[in-house]
Symmetry: C2
Subunit: 436 residues, 2 copies
């Protein structure tokens, strides 16, 4: 990989050239290439760990312990990365899938088939495993891949992509199909974002600063990874045991990810019973509560008098604060949850329409009409009935791995898996047919 001496434009042109060959390669060859990557990672793990060690040493002085942990590789983590590549290899090939087809009235046969996009660029931060995940998903879907990792993982990313590029070259994949941009910072990202003649899609995986930089400069299409202001709505007919399990899971199982719930909406008719129960449970799970007035009043009454049928709790260890307007719009990404009482399912749907980010929304209900109204009325990528929002994930959805999650409505909505890295092509076959 001549990545260090090449310009961004040259790397992308090489990737485009490689993509033309890749688009025509049999699925078996692509799978062999992924298997070769996995084998090479296991065989050359010492090189990977040595490079990673250099990144860790360089980062020690200025990176937080959390960031260092995300950056750190060991034998087990490298083996897990290699296993993930084999899992992608085992997925069905999205390329060539017939999306629809018919014989037109005039006798021309029409087939709409899935084909690779061409060149996919992934811009990401910290975690070096994304280097290999992105390579595996891009190659499996027949795309060349241009990678731009973070400067803190520069040696790890270089070692990983080098090993992958050498492995796929031996299997016969074209030169240039895996490229890692040198560490040129934001300026280089802006340059990448302007390569619209060669790059077909950019997927940024990183913070708001990265998104803002791309929104400023991108002429290449970008699918922005989602932020998730997700809700759980506990309907009048909810099973409150189920509701509690779902709320606790959606909020606490992994609070730092985009499919974690941020706001709990409770139907007025169940609030007297459910507010004391769920606030106690959340509080005991370490969740700080930001409550509207009605919730606050019920909680205070419960502490004083002990609510009928709810687990007794004197509020010890449970922190409930008054919520402000800004709480409804916030993606906490930590152990904080906003709680609000609504008068009806319509008010719940309206609240979600106003404050939600269109990611993952859940209703807990035993009423089929309410379930139907919620699924129809909530405009989001994923709408759940009686299940946790935490399931929004390419792996959980049976799509294999994912490279991000989209809350956009165009092209890809929800997990971005192999199919979402493809486009389509109409193939038409006649026998001298002309239009009259």
């Amino acid at each position: 990989m001549a990545t260090v001496i090449s310009s961004v434009g040259e790397i992308c042109r090489n990737a485009k050239r490689a993509s033309r060959t890749l688009a025509q390669i049999d699925g078996a060859v692509k799978d062999a290439a992924l298997e070769a990557i996995a084998a090479a990672l296991n065989a050359r793990v010492a090189e990977v760990l040595e490079a990673n060690e250099r990144d860790l040493r360089a980062g020690e002085s200025h990176l937080s312990e959390a960031l260092l942990d995300r950056l750190r590789l060991d034998q087990a983590r490298v083996a897990a990365i290699a296993r993930a590549v084999l899992e992608v290899a085992a997925l069905p090939d999205p390329v060539g899938e017939l999306i629809e087809g018919r014989l037109l009235g005039n006798g021309v046969r029409l087939s709409k088939v899935r084909v690779p996009l061409g060149v996919v660029a992934v811009v990401y931060e910290a975690r070096p495993n994304v280097t290999i995940d992105a390579i595996a998903l891009a190659l499996k879907s027949g795309n060349a891949v241009v990678l731009k990792g973070s400067s803190s993982a520069v040696h790890s990313n270089a070692a990983l992509s080098q090993i992958a590029a050498e492995a796929v070259a031996e299997v016969g994949l074209p030169d240039g199909c895996i490229a890692l941009l040198a560490d040129g910072g934001r300026e280089e990202i802006a340059e990448l974002a302007r390569q619209k003649d060669t790059v077909d899609l950019i997927i940024p995986r990183g913070g708001e600063g990265l998104k803002a930089a791309l929104e400023q400069s991108a002429t290449v299409p970008v699918i922005y990874a989602a932020s998730g202001n997700c809700h759980v709505y506990v309907d009048a007919s909810a099973d409150l045991e189920q509701a509690q399990a779902i709320v606790i899971n959606a909020k606490t199982q992994r609070p730092g990810v985009c499919n974690a719930a941020e706001t709990l909406l409770i139907h007025r008719r169940r609030a007297g019973e459910f507010v004391p129960q769920i606030l106690a449970a959340l509080g005991h799970a370490g969740v700080l509560i930001r409550a509207d007035e009605g919730t606050m009043a019920l909680w205070e009454a419960a502490i004083k008098h002990g609510p009928a049928g709810a687990p007794a709790d004197d509020g010890a260890g449970v922190t409930v604060q008054a919520a402000g307007e800004e709480d409804w719009a916030r993606e906490y990404l930590e152990l904080t949850m906003a709680v609000r009482i609504v008068e009806s399912i319509d008010e719940a749907i309206e609240h979600i329409g106003r404050y939600g980010s269109g990611h993952s929304e859940a209703i807990v209900t035993h009423d089929t009409a309410a379930a139907r109204a919620f699924q129809l009325g909530v405009d989001a990528a994923c709408v759940y009935v009686n299940a946790s929002t935490r399931f929004t994930d390419g792996g959980e959805f049976g799509m294999g791995a994912e490279i991000g999650n989209s809350t956009q409505k165009l092209h890809a909505r929800g997990p971005i898996g192999l199919r979402e890295l493809c486009t389509s092509k109409y193939l038409l076959e006649g026998d001298g047919h002309i239009r009259r």
Copy 2:
């Protein structure tokens, strides 16, 4: 419609509100709304023609005869517009279609269903029939529609959209689901293009100036209507009678549209026979030819000596000029065709990859291996074997009407019909399922 007194932002917010209701309306009600539009157009044709007359009078002094003809409505044209609405009503409802579905391993049921985008804006020039076409396609696909027509058709568009809005209101569609922006020019388009909180998609139907204006300012997603630099490649194994019919059809049946062919590529092995035949045929059809050196030499030899087996022609009425590099990249949109001899199918594919716009490309061949190589190797929305490029059209493809044609790779590639005006939503149903 309070279109004149409202701001762009207010109109779009109203449309968004209407779209929430529209998304939940049954298909039968949407069809009734379209039928009401068709009936109202026929009943109120006098109003439409009166408004159109005002536009025609205002345009007489500065519009070309061709533009005036595009602007002109009469009883028959209005009846045709109404019939087209009924054809859209008769199409299957794209909303609610199950795209895929499965029971996940954990027992959660996953369904990916088609849902409306929300608010679709269409910016268009001249032809007032687009007003009704866009309304019909948007409503059928469950979207609210914001229209921005050209100033030359301001009265026609106002009358047509007013009649449609009144008709659908009687059937019970929500207020604001059809909106026409007042004639505020480019500034208004720029404002529309920034309404990303309310407008889900803009489809521009107009010239390069409009596209450039949107590329500058748009934060709303835009699907640009395609330009088409389309090719017909006559392979070594082609049936030359078929080839001639396809070339003449692709070039001359309607030269001003994007699926007309602009360049003819001929395999070297058939050039001696085919060049004199096709140049004579094109010339007699009124086509000016811009030829590469090899083609030019064969043509000159044919005029002098008379080619073996080709129709005799002395060149009278056939104009052949030397092509320059710029000819390969041009979309003539008139009776001009570039002609080039290639050494192989690979050279044809490479030429198309270099100069094509990814719209519609055709091979004429009797060799299955060549057909396969061309379909795999050409990166375009529509790839034809032994058929004219002129078939690229939503109606011809059996998609019903279309609102444009996309050469983008994301979201929609090829004709933009009802499905392309939709997005998808994952519906997930469990029974208290939480993620472990």
